[in-house]
């Protein structure tokens, strides 16, 4: 892994059940506010009502007429993009003059899962193509490119729960290589019955608000949302005389090669991803202020992750924000990258919501109260189905 030039972050947008903007999210996080409740947008026949972190407001579709009827995942994504562009001081007209790429992570946003269509199809009712057309118009990266008439590369990353982290790492590499002047990178995902039923079927869902890294954790709660970072090349940054908010200093990605749904017990892939991300950034454990951990609150994830973090980044404070947002799947890594930058800027990290008791098997605790930090570099990592792992090193300074 070679040391690489950092990519500047000039704008951030984020929405989740904790808030409709990055600012609202951070207020909720530092206030310890969490709003897990049974889903309102869909029903289920499960005897237990598993809580979710749902966004109850409906984000508006974009301005492009083609985007009037798109999947909710894309609406969430567009909402975060609009916030991020505003934050970066960019208008749509600025984008058309540049080589702008879009790299988005998702899970639900790339899967044809419309239950009503399929029930009708199975029932021989010859359903119309409205739902299929909606799906075909709703590739998350393409929707953003279409909305702003962008002509650069588009990539929708479907690495399950690490998609958002990977999309940011890939977007940064497009900037470094000179392929793009600017990249809109992040992730978006919506809550739906398929993932709700799917995660319950795997018996890794908690029927109460989730408790990442806690002794009594029982599993995850699903969430939804989007996180977007605007990444810019040095040349554009100079031309615009725009200061960067932060930098993507390093990215690593590695697979376990162990199991489809469980992490390697030794954390092989996560160690490799963290090693590569740190090497690329030129940072060491001593430089890291905190780790925004994946921390889903499943038994396996938290065990492996805590073990790896204790070994590779000993004594570095860590926390999970899933207790505030739920697990937003393909958006999770991007939302958490946005939180990571906001925490670095504020010099403060939030308590790990849901944590009450040290798990002796883990031997380490996340931060359990809002805590001041002094360094300006942090790590955000993700573990995913398929045995995939990804990590970002983010910092406020270029070096």
């Amino acid at each position: 892994m070679n040391r690489s030039a950092p990519a500047a972050i000039t704008g951030i947008g984020c929405l989740s059940a904790a808030g409709m903007s990055l600012k609202e999210n951070m207020v909720s996080l530092f206030a310890g506010k969490r709003c897990a409740a049974p889903p309102e947008r869909f029903t289920s026949s499960h005897p237990l009502h598993y809580p979710v972190f749902e966004i109850l407001k409906d984000p508006s579709p974009g301005n492009n007429p083609e985007n009037k009827d798109i999947l909710r995942t894309c609406r969430l994504g567009l909402s975060a993009v609009n916030e991020a562009l505003l934050d970066a001081g960019l208008g749509p007209e600025d984008l058309t003059r540049l080589r702008v790429g879009v790299c988005m992570g998702t899970t639900v946003g790339s899967t044809m899962t419309d239950e009503e269509f399929y029930r009708n199809f199975r029932g021989g009712m010859r359903p119309g193509m409205t739902m299929i057309e909606r799906f075909l118009k709703s590739n998350p990266a393409s929707v953003i490119a279409r909305e702003f008439n962008l002509k650069g590369p588009c990539q929708t990353v479907v690495n399950a729960c690490s998609s958002g982290t990977d999309a940011i790492g890939i977007g940064a590499s497009w900037i470094r290589s000179g392929m793009c002047d600017m990249v809109i990178a992040g992730g978006a995902d919506e809550l739906c019955r398929v993932t709700y039923n799917g995660f319950i079927s795997l018996m890794i869902t908690d029927d109460s608000p989730c408790r990442p890294f806690d002794r009594d954790r029982k599993g995850l709660n699903l969430g939804e949302g989007a996180g977007i970072l605007i990444l810019e090349s040095d040349r554009i940054l100079r031309d615009r005389e725009k200061p960067a908010r932060a930098f993507v200093l390093g990215y690593g990605s590695a697979c376990d090669g162990y199991h489809l749904t469980a992490p390697s017990p030794e954390g092989k892939g996560l160690k490799n991803a963290l090693t590569d991300a740190l090497l690329e950034s030129g940072k060491t454990a001593g430089d890291i202020a905190f780790i925004n951990a994946h921390g889903t609150a499943t038994r396996d994830n938290d065990r492996t992750e805590a073990m790896v973090l204790a070994e590779m980044l000993p004594d570095v404070p860590f926390f999970s924000t899933k207790g505030y947002t739920g697990h937003a799947l393909g958006a999770a890594g991007a939302i958490e990258a946005a939180f990571t930058v906001a925490c670095l800027e504020s010099g403060m990290i939030p308590s790990n919501a849901g944590f009450a008791s040290l798990d002796p098997e883990l031997g380490v605790s996340p931060v359990y109260e809002n805590t001041r930090i002094s360094r300006n570099v942090a790590v955000s990592d993700s573990l995913a189905f398929g045995g995939h792992n990804a990590a970002l090193v983010l910092g406020l300074e270029r070096v």
Binding site: M1, S110, N139, R193, C255, G257, N272, G386, G387
Partner: protein, 358 residues
């Protein structure tokens, strides 16, 4: 930067392996067997040759989509003379337009048949888009980076950009790069609903007035490296681009030989004319593998085979011309050669992959 193609594995309606594809190209004929699916014809893939590489028992819980991926990957490794890989220095990239659609609907079947509480965990975990990458990394004991991309018709050029980035940045020495898509009844039904019920058995791409797409399925894998393998004669990828045409030409006059990804959808097929430099010669081979989002991967494999065989194969007779494309009707010598694979989708989205000798 050159990306060397050191091995190819293909699976499709024409059979599996480079030899099967080559036979099809030499004959200029589509697969002999066109499956009648109940929703019209389709070119379907047979994964039974996988048993030569993986114990049947290990495949029990692996769906058709992932089996096509695993077969394609093993064939590429075998073709490249690398049955095992340096685990941490090999990246894995898979792309797909629709993902494991059969399994996605199997999961819905479990919910519809037996209720929410009886949803199938096996179907759910296999329906996740990166399940094929997960299975492959387990079977091949890979520990490097892994990426799954879904960008409909632009999945292949989009994912190939990342393969190039990984090699360029020194993240890995090799990339096992694959593209997979599968047929399912819902795809067949949608095809009929969108494009009519004409049960033709031959595709006529580039026809301006007729829908002739026949859905296909399969996988295409490449062993890509920064260094050229001594034995490889497939050439290398020298240009990968994607974007949206905005008036300025994206192709130069130096690009004279094309493989067009037109696949019988008249709405998209008619857009190719707006991209072509004057005087360029074109071939189109989609009637051999069918219409599917990862078609550009088949075209890239065919371009590499043309480089190896030092000739452009004749396009199947059913490819229309309309006097616009200078379609290659007879095999042409190609020494040294450079072939540009062009895929055009709705709204003038394009993907370009250029393969050259050396």
């Amino acid at each position: 930067m050159r990306i060397h193609i050191n091995g190819i594995g293909v699976v499709g309606g024409f059979g599996s392996g480079v030899k099967a594809l080559l036979t099809c190209l030499e004959m200029g004929l589509p697969p002999l067997k066109v499956h009648d699916t109940g929703y019209g014809p389709a070119f379907l893939a047979d994964t039974s040759p996988l048993e030569a590489f993986v114990r049947k028992k290990s495949l029990r819980r692996i769906d058709h989509f992932s089996q096509m991926a695993i077969l394609g990957a093993h064939l590429a490794l075998q073709d490249g003379g690398m049955p095992s890989m340096a685990a941490k220095r090999t990246g894995l990239i898979i792309c797909s337009g629709y993902g494991a659609s059969r399994t996605t609907f199997s999961f819905l079947d479990s919910v519809i048949n037996d209720g929410d509480a009886c949803a199938s965990p096996t179907s759910f975990s296999n329906s996740v888009h990166n399940a094929a990458a997960g299975h492959l990394s387990i079977l091949l004991k890979l520990g490097g980076p892994s990426l799954t991309v879904s960008q409909f018709e632009m999945s292949v050029p989009s994912a190939l950009l990342s393969a190039r980035q990984w090699l360029q940045e020194g993240r890995v020495d090799h990339v096992l790069f694959g593209a997979v898509d599968e047929y399912c009844d819902v795809v067949g039904y949608c095809w009929r609903s969108f494009f009519g019920e004409d049960d033709h058995c031959v595709m006529s791409p580039l026809s301006q007035d007729r829908e002739s797409a026949i859905p296909g399925e399969g996988s295409v894998f490449f062993l890509l490296s920064k260094e050229k393998a001594d034995t490889s004669k497939y050439g290398s990828v020298v240009d990968v681009r994607m974007g949206r045409l905005d008036g300025a030409s994206v192709l130069s006059s130096e690009q004279t030989t094309f493989i067009l990804g037109a696949d019988g959808h008249k709405g998209c097929d008619r857009l190719y004319a707006d991209f072509m430099p004057p005087g360029a010669e074109s071939a189109c081979y989609s009637p051999l593998y069918g219409s599917l989002p990862i078609g550009p991967a088949f075209d890239m494999a065919i371009a590499a085979l043309c480089i190896r065989e030092e000739k452009m194969f004749a396009s199947p007779e059913s490819v229309a011309d309309q006097g616009k494309y200078n379609i290659i009707r007879k095999a042409l010598p190609l020494t040294p050669g450079s072939i540009t694979c062009l895929k055009v989708a709705k709204d003038y989205e394009f993907g370009i992959i250029t393969v050259t000798t050396g």
